[in-house]
């Protein structure tokens, strides 16, 4: 009997690969292996609805076990894959079990970057990546009175919003001089700074944490690098992630802070593909390596990876998009604004609903929208089509924006 296609990592990308293989009429065996105890689930709600108490564990499952069984996808949970033997076309589990593969997909996601300052190991100092992490924070928010968030990126700020809703006093430490600096332009950072401050969050820009202190093993507070002390019975660390590429690197696959893939999700081994947060894309157009940490990327790379396993080329080329929800504000992003040389506002930030259009050399490269879903959806179409509406039309709310 032919060996199965093995997928390592049962997250968004891993599941997509499995289902796209079935969609592509692959009828052989599929083994989907994950080290978490639960079936694949949506991660974005972990810092949103789950923390707000609006969704329980099973509600965010993308597929139940029964559904996967019905689709003839064999799901193994709670077991990490420990090694890949490319010569033998085998993977090895921690307990010594080995599985042959005819094709292998790596969808191992990412792990949290850890704080290394003294006190980081105290109880009550946590990160947020998994459903289990989210449940720990949800439980802690029931009693926490002072919450400190380290890192003013999307996840940190979503946690800050949830902690405020839960009634805690919240301090955010951000080492950079503005919020979400890696992803959005200064206009947006300023808007979200004002939003959080209006909600009563103390945002400490340009401040890192020097030391976390505690009593009987539990956190009680922390010191900023200016010596300022803040009480905290919960510290949530959101300072970024690192790709899970050790398995691939140990097997000799090309890695560069992530498993290197091309636009079709192929690695340096023709039998192995990779998708999602564990990858870096060799950017054929702009040169260098690029990592996108988003659901869209996991889904689209997953589709490409499945196609590649079936011998087809399906490059992922759509405009990247992403979103974040904080309080009653929804931020939606299309394209990548890095390297813009001019920007145009549509709508007025003071009204709480506006979009920012970014141009490089007169070419539209990205649009970030706050509570303006129409702008966002249109922006995705414009960017996919490579169209650039004139700044005059964009700035004039009276004139209609449309695909040419």
């Amino acid at each position: 009997m032919a060996a199965p296609i093995v997928i390592v990592g049962a997250g968004q990308a891993g599941l997509q690969i499995a289902e796209s293989l079935r969609g592509g009429k692959y009828e052989g065996e599929i083994l989907l292996i994950g080290d978490e105890p639960v079936p694949p689930y949506h991660r974005p709600p972990l810092s949103k609805d789950v923390l707000l108490g609006l969704a329980l564990g099973e509600q965010i499952e993308i597929r139940s076990r029964e559904t996967l069984a019905r689709k003839n996808i064999t799901l193994l949970t709670g077991v990490p894959v420990q090694a890949i033997n490319r010569e033998r076309r085998q993977i090895a589990m921690a307990d010594g079990t080995r599985y042959d593969y005819r094709g292998l997909a790596l969808a191992t996601g990412a792990r949290l970057r850890r704080l290394t300052v003294p006190g980081s190991e105290l109880q009550g100092v946590v990160g947020l990546r998994s459903l289990a992490d989210s449940h720990v924070i949800l439980a802690a928010l029931k009693t926490a009175r002072h919450v400190a968030v380290v890192g003013g990126g999307f996840i940190g700020l979503e946690v800050a919003a949830a902690a405020r809703k839960a009634g805690a006093q919240v301090t955010v430490f951000e080492a950079g001089d503005r919020l979400m600096a890696r992803a959005v332009a200064p206009v947006l950072s300023d808007f979200f700074l004002a939003l959080h401050e209006a909600q009563g969050v103390e945002v400490r820009l340009g401040r890192t944490v020097m030391e976390i202190v505690g009593k009987e093993g539990r956190v009680t507070g922390l010191y900023g690098d200016d010596g300022g002390f803040r009480r905290a019975d919960l510290v949530v660390v959101g300072i970024g992630i690192e790709a899970n590429d050790r398995l691939a690197a140990a097997a000799g696959l090309d890695c560069d802070r992530g498993i290197v893939v091309d636009a079709c999700s192929r690695t340096s081994d023709p039998l192995i593909v990779a998708a999602g947060d564990c990858t870096v894309l060799r950017d054929a157009v702009h040169g260098g390596m690029r990592r996108l940490e988003s659901v869209q990327n996991a889904v689209e790379q997953g589709k490409s990876a499945a196609a590649a396993l079936l011998g087809q080329e399906r490059p992922f080329s759509q405009t990247p998009w992403f979103w974040s929800t904080q309080y009653d504000v929804t931020l939606q992003m299309a394209g990548l604004s890095t390297g813009y040389d001019s920007l145009v506002l549509r709508g007025n930030p003071a009204t709480g609903a506006f979009s920012v259009f970014y141009y490089r050399q007169d070419r539209l490269i990205a649009v970030e929208s706050v509570n303006r879903p129409q702008d966002h959806m249109l922006a995705r179409k414009l960017l996919d089509a490579g169209q650039s509406p004139s700044p005059e039309v964009v700035a004039d709310e009276g004139s209609k924006l449309a695909l040419a």
Binding site: H42, P45, Q59, R70, W323, P373
Partner: protein, 107 residues
């Protein structure tokens, strides 16, 4: 449990018991109805969980908010008066027997 009847394009009917408090999208996802993609996981940010709600119960569902309305303007299939994003419909006992039709495409 609230019974929801999902009808696919080809007429295939799926009667699914979904716990109260869950959304119509969540019931479809766990049960693997491919006609609902729900990429954003229920954040009202992707418009890939579009459904047509049978008219008889439409009035029992709170009308779309501004975000949903804006996203509905951009669903891939035709937007009709009974178009909704299924992640924004939370199931209550009153919605037992709700019929939703899946559109021909989500993305």
């Amino acid at each position: 449990m609230v019974k929801v009847i999902y009808v696919e394009q080809d007429g295939a009917r799926h009667d699914i018991d979904v716990p109260e408090g869950w959304t119509v999208m969540q019931g479809a996802q766990r049960n693997g109805l491919d006609g609902i993609e729900a990429e954003c996981g229920g954040s009202c940010c992707c418009a890939t969980c579009h459904v047509y709600v049978a008219e008889d119960m439409l009035g029992l569902i709170p009308p779309p908010g501004e975000m949903e309305d804006g996203m509905l303007d951009n669903v891939v299939a035709e937007r009709r008066p009974n178009s909704r994003l299924s992640c924004q419909i939370t199931l209550t006992a009153a919605l037992d027997g709700l019929v939703v039709h899946l559109p021909e495409a989500q993305s």
